[in-house]
């Protein structure tokens, strides 16, 4: 087996046994990228020098006996997370050549753990989209079937893991941006509880929804990465002060006594029959592993999509206002006055989807509309949070599809923003409620000549990551 095909646990073992060095792994991974990324297009920036420097540090750490589970492990970072001195573009023309002067908290944590960053991955521009087709800089293809999208917005990160171009990747999830590409590409993706991974250094899309999380080949790997990046950070006011970060602790324990609900609303109209069947099948396997499966209902989920779009766009319209061409990033040529400079810079620097969401956000916040949209959406959000809380009185977690369909063909939906938005219906409720959810591969759907991966998601109450990993790992080991 090639190094690039191995998971974190296996690589860590080799490193520990001194059968391979971090430098060798980094070089091997860079070689893998050189061979396959021409087709896949997962990376926007390959940071070769940076990776070698980091690998050297990792090897020294090991020599000094300071190695941890991620020391020397090569990974990819989504390009909306700041990396000092390595360009951070958000896949936008606006930041195409922007070099951050500081590291995100997550970047710092991974550096401190000795992980080796190979480069920055493609995404939908400013994380707005579900197919990575909204990248202003590059097209990413699904490694399982290259005519198909990898999902999004963390499509580059999911594709990089699936194409063996890194051992793990970091993504961000605002409305499904980790889980949905994980499902489309056949990898494991976790969106943790809001406030458990610092957002400091994550270029904000929608601040009250954004959460960073890992994409990996296995469930156990995923828990290890989350253990490394999750912490309290005083630089993020929404970072939670105290919580247990021992996410691996329940992996391997049996599921007897675990109660899993299947909310019927997630299996209704619009859900592809093959996808539904695969998720139902996963439910059976979890039942076989000892869990008690029961159908349940979450009617409030019908508010989720409109509430999500109103609130996200409102926050985004303000978060993205700073890209005005004054201090950094793209600036339009030939503007005669300040007003035109703003208008031209922002019209030329942002893509269509980003402009659409900024306009929508400004609209819902404007005088006279605030109560009808923003306030109403906040009320819907509260209702949804309560509805989830009620369900978690009866269930340890919920099982649902991640996306209504498997991956679709490149270009197939990109002309219809409404249809694209409907694809987020299964993922956005979790972000509205700040809950953790994991996407786990559960088979493939044959389409044309391709076998398209499909994942299911497990949704738990806040801080239930360890339990989600437990159930996901039990399913995974039963395959």
């Amino acid at each position: 087996m090639k190094y690039s095909e191995m998971n974190i646990a296996a690589l860590s073992q080799l490193l520990q046994n001194k059968e391979v060095s971090a430098m060798e792994l980094a070089k091997d991974a860079l070689q893998a990228i050189a061979e396959t990324d021409g087709t896949v297009g997962a990376y926007l920036t390959v940071a070769e020098d940076e990776a070698c420097r980091q690998a050297e540090i990792a090897d020294n750490m090991r020599a000094e006996g300071k190695a941890g589970p991620l020391t020397g492990i090569p990974f990819a970072m989504k390009d909306n997370i700041c990396t000092k001195g390595v360009r951070t573009t958000c896949a936008s023309k606006m930041l195409e050549n922007w070099l951050p002067v500081y590291d995100a908290c997550v970047t710092e944590r991974l550096k401190a753990a000795g992980a080796v960053m190979l480069g920055k991955t493609n995404m939908d521009e400013f994380a707005m989209g579900s197919s990575s087709e909204n990248s202003a800089l590059q097209l990413t293809r699904n490694p399982a079937a290259t005519d198909y999208v990898p999902g999004g917005s963390s499509g580059g990160s999911a594709a990089a893991v699936a194409a063996n171009e890194c051992a793990f990747a970091i993504g961000s999830d605002t409305g499904g941006s980790i889980r949905q590409p994980a499902s489309f590409c056949g990898v494991v993706g976790m969106k943790p509880t809001y406030g458990t991974v610092s957002r400091y250094g994550l270029v904000a899309y929608a601040s009250s929804f954004d959460q960073i999380g890992p994409l990996t080949k296995t469930v156990a790997d995923n828990a290890k990465v989350l253990e490394a990046i999750s912490c309290h950070d005083r630089r993020d006011s929404t970072s939670l002060p105290e919580f247990d970060t021992n996410y691996s602790s329940l992996i391997g324990k049996d599921l007897s006594g675990m109660r899993i609900g299947l909310p019927k609303e997630y299996f209704g109209e619009g859900i592809n029959a093959d996808v539904a069947a695969l998720v139902q099948n996963a439910a059976k396997q979890l039942e076989n592993a000892g869990a008690k499966i029961e159908e349940c209902s979450l009617p409030a989920v019908s508010y989720a999509l409109p509430a999500y779009y109103v609130l996200c766009c409102a926050e985004a319209s303000s978060n993205l206002a700073r890209f005005d061409g004054i201090r950094y990033g793209f600036r339009a040529e030939g503007a005669e006055d300040l007003d035109r400079l703003y208008r031209m810079t922002r019209t030329q620097g942002f893509g269509r989807e980003v402009r659409r969401r900024i306009l929508l956000g400004n609209y819902v916040l404007s005088a006279g509309y605030y109560d009808a949209y923003y306030k109403k959406a906040q009320q819907a959000r509260t209702l949804l949070i309560r509805a989830f809380a009620d369900l978690f009185k009866d269930y340890d977690m919920l099982l649902a599809p991640v996306a209504p369909t498997p991956a679709y063909k490149i270009g197939e939906k990109s002309s219809d923003p409404m249809e694209m938005a409907l694809g987020d219906i299964c993922t956005v409720p979790v972000n509205l409620a700040g809950l953790p959810a994991i996407s786990v591969p559960c088979g493939t759907v044959a389409q044309d000549s391709a076998n398209l991966p499909v994942g299911f998601q497990l949704i738990g109450p806040a801080f239930s990551e360890a339990k989600l990993y437990q159930a996901a790992a039990a399913y995974e080991s039963g395959i």
């Binding site: 994550l202 006011s237 926050e315």
Partner: protein
């Protein structure tokens, strides 16, 4: 001609003198080369997040308390969205519907007439940067981005320039008094916008108002109010309709001018800042802050001249400088001679830099004649240099006043024996000759003799000769 009165409301911005800015660890004080007192956070770099400086909340609440406001138990920060090159995030973090303080007032006295001016609200917000225009182009200086401000909004209760002046003077006095700002209009740490409309005397309706911005001295505020009132009366008398607009005052011409009217009114699209958590102040927080609020300046003045029997001038000098007054207030608790304490403190050019305990100790040493009156200056100098305890310094510098009458007795005898000429002069009626003998005693005791005691002793001995 109908008689008109003004209806004036004031919006005052005051910079809080916290150590660091409102959302990051950069220094909040004035000065520095452009863009040297800023960081990724206050420059609004992508990915950065604000963290509220708790001292800002404390300072603002203290200002609210001295201005008789109700302090919120729940408050929150909102974003005010607009584009301008001095605003790096393109939104100002401010407060919309849950300000920190509400429903306060200030009592003023103009020409013998007492009047209460309502304070609608006080909220906290961040300052913007500054645009610098040079021959080579325009630049943005972010040093001031994120400097904490309070905005104090008055009710439209003010009826004249004189009342506005009295309100602002009292506001400044009180905010300085609680030590949260120096409130200097010259440096911009206190700024004022005037909202003004006119109406016939006796009418209680409110009419179209204008806002006069960028007024940077009390003098200009008074003049601008008079000029704008006159203009509004002229317009009304001439049958022209007033427009709600922003105006600026030109002191050269003593007139207000309309500032460029924007095509469409600004819609700031306020919404709660999702990067910040709500501010909760418990009853304990309220009590803790309340305990930090001093007596009113006039109450303290009365106490100083009454209870402590300080001369009025001395008491006023102390109360004019809130830091000094608070220091005195602290030190006076542990001394028996409040007047001596005041004199010692006012004799020092930088009294505020010395801890209250040191002032109290010096006062007590003097009062008990353990050191003489010239010793405090030496001790303060040594304390500034070394920071050592006063008791230690007294010993090290040999400043203990000699109270040992036996020792003083023998030194006096020695001095009399060694200076026959001075003794003869004194005996022949030259009273001044005793000074030469005193000088010798001081020299031999290194200044540690109690002058009054030594003089008395000398006189006694000389009279017996």
């Amino acid at each position: 001609m109908a008689k008109y009165e003004c209806v004036i409301g004031l919006e005052v911005h005051i910079e809080l003198r916290t150590k660091t800015k409102i959302f990051c660890d950069c220094p909040a004080d004035h000065g520095g080369e452009p863009n040297t007192r800023c960081c990724p956070v206050c420059m609004g770099m992508p990915g950065t997040l604000p963290v509220l400086n708790k001292q800002v909340v404390d300072f603002a609440a203290r200002a609210g308390m001295i201005l008789n406001c109700e302090i919120a138990h729940f408050s929150k920060m909102d974003r005010k969205n607009y584009f301008y090159p001095d605003l790096p995030k393109a939104y100002q973090i401010s407060q919309l519907d849950h300000p920190l303080c509400e429903h306060g007032y200030i009592d003023i006295n103009v020409g013998g007439e007492e009047k209460r001016i309502g304070i609608t609200r006080i909220h906290i917000e961040e300052d913007a940067g500054k645009l610098v225009h040079t021959d080579s182009g325009s630049g943005a200086d972010c040093n001031r981005c994120g400097v904490p401000l309070i905005e104090i909004v008055s009710e439209p209760d003010i009826r004249s320039a004189a009342q506005a002046k009295a309100y602002l003077e009292r506001l400044r006095e009180l905010v300085r008094w609680v030590g949260v700002s120096d409130c200097q209009m010259e440096t911009g740490s206190m700024r004022c916008d005037v909202n003004l409309s006119i109406r016939p005397v006796g009418d209680t309706n409110l009419y179209t108002r204008t806002e006069i911005k960028n007024l940077n001295s009390l003098k200009h505020i008074v003049a601008a109010i008079d000029a704008e009132k006159a203009r509004q009366i002229d317009e009304t008398e001439a049958g022209r309709e007033l427009v709600q607009e922003t105006r600026r005052y030109d002191p050269e011409k003593d007139k207000t001018y309309s500032m460029r009217v924007k095509e469409n009114a600004n819609d700031y699209r306020y919404f709660p800042d999702p990067d910040l958590v709500p501010i909760y102040l418990t009853d304990e927080d309220h009590a803790r802050l309340r305990a930090m609020i001093p007596d009113l300046p006039e109450e303290r003045l009365a106490k100083y001249t009454g209870e402590y029997k300080l001369p009025e001038a001395t008491a006023k000098t102390l109360c004019d400088e809130p830091k000094l007054a608070n220091l005195y207030q602290e030190a006076v608790q542990s001394v028996k001679q409040p007047k001596l304490l005041a004199n010692l403190m006012l004799a020092d050019s930088d009294a505020a830099a010395i801890p209250a305990a040191v002032w109290a100790e010096l006062t007590n040493l003097c009062a008990e004649n353990k050191i003489n009156r010239s010793a405090p200056a030496k001790l303060l100098e040594a304390f500034r240099e070394t920071g050592k305890e006063i008791a230690v310094l007294v010993k090290e510098l040999g400043l203990e006043q000699v109270q040992d009458t036996g020792l003083l007795n023998s030194i006096a005898d020695e001095v009399i024996a060694a200076n026959p000429k001075a003794v003869a002069d004194f005996k022949s009626g030259k009273q001044a000759a005793i000074q030469a003998l005193m000088g010798q005693i001081m020299k031999r005791t290194k200044g540690a003799a109690n002058p009054a005691e030594a003089t008395a002793l000398l006189k006694e001995k000389l009279s017996k000769l």
